[in-house]
Point group: C2
Chain length 270, copies 2
């Protein structure tokens, strides 16, 4: 016969229930004048990973500094997966996913694919810039200074410089300065300089390397800002400042908002 602590008869099963309930642990009863000591139990809470929708941190997200070369390599490789704008973004955000993880893992880099070919092939903002700027914008509320520097640098830089360690295509590429951050101007200028058709693989190899150049520069700028050593170097061309003296917001016409070189598209009427 098994009795519980109140002297009531209980089956062994019920006794165990009482014992478990009593202590979180332990109950001690008297049986025929003897104390029965139930097994001692220790409750150990074992961590179990439970996926929950954790809140992401407030924007901007913390930037840990990245290796510009690793980001450039990732950008080059990513070009062949999802195009220029995806690669401009993934080169940076993919590195952050690998180095930091959450919250960067929450953003699908594919969301920037639309920027390819200057925005679904419309030849507007260079996709490498579009992707890189979005990435810079995630990790800094002071993205405007370094972002503007990136765009300005782009207009004056002879692309491509990057030499992939394992190129998708073995080409010895010529370089050109586009004078504009627009995809159409950049691609056509290079194609004409190189004597290469826009739809040739050689032009695609040029853009893949260009994305690596842009991402490397973007990371260098982000690192400099993180170190507190960023200084803006880019100054708009005279063709911009001259036109803007009338057409810009401080001019009498005040009907043009751009920093691009006006003479790329317009003849100077003066």
């Amino acid at each position: 016969m098994v009795k519980n602590t109140m002297g009531e008869d209980v089956s062994r099963r019920d006794f165990m229930k009482v014992a478990g309930a009593a202590v979180g642990g332990l109950a001690i009863g008297a049986v025929g004048g003897y104390s029965l000591i139930p097994p001692k139990e220790t409750i150990v809470e074992v961590p179990k990973d439970v996926p929950v929708a954790m809140d992401v941190p407030s924007w901007p997200w913390t930037y840990p500094k990245l290796d510009p070369e690793a980001a450039a390599q990732r950008a080059y490789d990513s070009y062949w997966v999802g195009g220029c704008s995806y690669a401009g973004f993934e080169g940076i955000v993919g590195e952050l996913k690998a180095e930091v993880g959450f919250p960067f893992t929450q953003i699908p880099s594919q969301m920037m694919k639309y920027g390819g070919g200057g925005g679904l092939g419309w030849g507007m903002i260079c996709g490498a810039l579009n992707g890189a700027l979005a990435a810079m914008n995630i990790i800094s509320d002071s993205y405007a200074g370094i972002g503007n520097e990136l765009i300005g640098w782009y207009t004056e830089h002879a692309f491509p410089v990057y030499e992939p360690s394992e190129p998708n295509n073995e080409f010895d590429l010529v370089t050109s300065v586009s004078g504009s951050p627009l995809c159409h101007v950049s691609v056509t200028t290079w194609s004409n300089t190189a004597g290469v058709k826009e739809s040739d693989t050689e032009r695609k190899e040029r853009c893949a390397r260009l994305v690596a150049d842009v991402v490397k520069k973007a990371v260098e700028l982000m690192n400099a800002q993180a170190d507190g050593t960023f200084t803006a170097m880019f100054a708009p061309a005279t063709a911009v400042t001259g036109c803007q003296s009338c057409h810009g917001k401080d001019g009498m016409l005040d009907n043009v908002a751009t920093k691009d070189n006006c003479l790329t598209c317009h003849e100077d009427p003066h």
Copy 2:
């Protein structure tokens, strides 16, 4: 009556205290001449939930269909918070956060702020388009068709149409067709048509309403695609198809990749 292991009377509450204290280290004395040796401790492992970041779904994310008018209103309001590109994105993604929650809550809409003024004021892709296209790209791997339709529609649409129920500024705005998806062309064309300076509040009110128009159209296209009723209506202008017959990828020159109207920037040399 409840007795403890030493045979002392204890209240039930005190018994529980004694039992609880004994666990994790109990020594039992002799009772009635018998030594009772406590059984070995039994470890009871209880899973304890530890929050870890839930993986977001694979891209593209499921789209539930949205109310175009609600998205337009959110876009208009968002313009005054974070500018045109932020508003183009937040109009859609903000609605998805409100209607669906996770995983859309994981993306900080501020990441698209850089697109303002056509990309940090460089006058490239209209920020409303840039933000809306990124949002469309999150929820569809068939973003190219509806995205291209949105851009094409933009070039032919007389903006702005949207009438906010609670406008930030009471203006009776004229409309203009930009003929281009570029911010600079769109803003300058409207400013010249309206006789309004680019930096005036009236021009900003125009852009706020334009973002609402663009987001409304984007949601209508996304809904049509979700319903399986989307049909592309936009066809490039003759100025594009004519030029592209030589300059496009099927032409002998093959040095231009764009769908924009060539004559916006170039004189026809033929």
